[in-house]
Structure formats: structure tokens, C-alpha cells
Amino acid sequence: MIALFWICTAILILTAIGVVASRHPVHSVIALIVNFSALAVMFLMLTAEFLAMIQIIIYAGAILVLFLFVITLLTIGTGPVESGPSRLAFQAVPSIVTGIVALALLASGVRTASAAAPPEAGWQLWDATADDPLVRF
């Protein structure tokens, strides 16, 4: 796990320098997204799972999307919109393969976690109290 720490450190420092040194602000935002993801892994190594999820959801999912919207607002009308040849035909197959690999990773993770999980006391508790109108909300 020390190797994972130093890998995350390298990603953090490199992407931070990428944020600061990029010419185009969109490249800075993408580097910052990678930075926050590596920081979430750091939080997971510090057993702060809630903070890791908060980091991904709020920072990478809301604040940086807001940054992207503002960059879009500020660069409207200051240059021609490039409309070169469509690259979709080239990117379709790698995208689908990546999606299938991501689904396989998630499924294997869920299967590993549910195999080692304790019995679901929460579900049984809900079923036991479902008939009591004073408990059910």
C-alpha cells in the first residue's frame, strides 16, 4: 500500500503542475478532475470513505462542472467553432469497450463485497417493523 501512496502522490503533483501550467483553461479543469480523483483515493487510504465520496460528488461533480460552464460562457463568440471531420466513428469502439470493462470491474467489486458482507440486518429490521403503523413513516 505504500506503492499506492506514492503513485497517488505522483499523480497529485503532476496534475497540479498541469493545472497551473496549461495554456487552455479546459485542460486545467481536466487535470484538476484527475487531481481530485487521486485525492479521493488518498482519503480512502486514510479510511475517510465519506470524505472520498464527498470529494468526488461535490468537487469533481459539481464545482468543476460549474468551472466548465463558466469557461464556456466566457469564450462564446471569441473564435470560430471548429467543425472538422467527425471523429465519432474512430472513438465508438474504444468507448464501448471501456464501458464494458468498467461494468465488469463494478460487478466484480460488488460481488466481492457482497460475498464478504455481514447479514443484512437493516433489511430484516425494516421488514419486522413494516406492519407497525407507529414505526412506519
Binding site: I2, I17, L32, V70
Partner: protein, 102 residues
């Protein structure tokens, strides 16, 4: 994780903070400066979480939550100000904003 001392986490946090400070002072694009500020906030978050793990005190993680909230609100307001100030200008450069009338 056993084996990673607290000093290593603090070194990483300091390095991130230094990169953020240098970026904030060197760049002239206001959005990039705001992203450098976000880097500094996250460096502080990493230090808080490391101390929370090291001293087995949950207050560090609670303060990280507070910092994330403050950072979100401040980023929203700062971006709104940037949009308002730079809406009619061709180049976004904070050095151009040198008159403060009101």
C-alpha cells in the same frame, strides 16, 4: 494503512499547497487562479484528514466537510463575479481590471 507515516502525508499536502501558491501568483487568467485556490484548499483537506487519522480524532474529517462547503460557495460566488466583470471583454486578464469605481 500501516507503513505510511504522517510526515509523508504532510509533505504531499505542503507540495500541493506550494504548487497552488505558485500558480496563483504566476497566472493571469482568473479561472486558472481560482483553480489554484482550489488546489490550496484540497492541500489543507489532505492535511486535516491525515491528522484525523493520526490522532484518531474525527474532528479533522468534520472540518474537511466544512472546508468543502465553504470552497463550493466561494467558487460559485467568485465565478459569478468573474462572469459579470469579464462579460464584455475580449481577453480575460486580471491585470486589466485596475479601475474600481463605485
Amino acid at each position: 494503512m500501516p507503513g505510511v507515516p504522517l510526515a509523508d502525508y504532510l509533505a504531499v499536502s505542503s507540495a500541493l499547497f506550494a504548487v497552488g501558491v505558485i500558480g496563483f501568483l504566476l497566472r493571469r487568467n482568473p479561472i486558472t487562479m481560482l483553480m489554484a485556490i482550489e488546489l490550496m484548499w484540497n492541500a489543507g483537506n489532505l492535511a486535516f484528514a491525515a491528522f484525523a487519522r493520526s490522532f484518531v480524532d474525527f474532528s479533522g474529517q468534520i472540518f474537511v466537510f466544512i472546508v468543502v462547503t465553504v470552497a463550493a460557495a466561494e467558487a460559485a460566488i467568485a465565478l459569478a463575479i468573474v462572469v459579470m466583470v469579464f462579460r464584455r471583454r475580449r481577453d480575460v486578464d486580471v491585470d486589466e481590471i485596475s479601475e474600481l469605481r463605485g
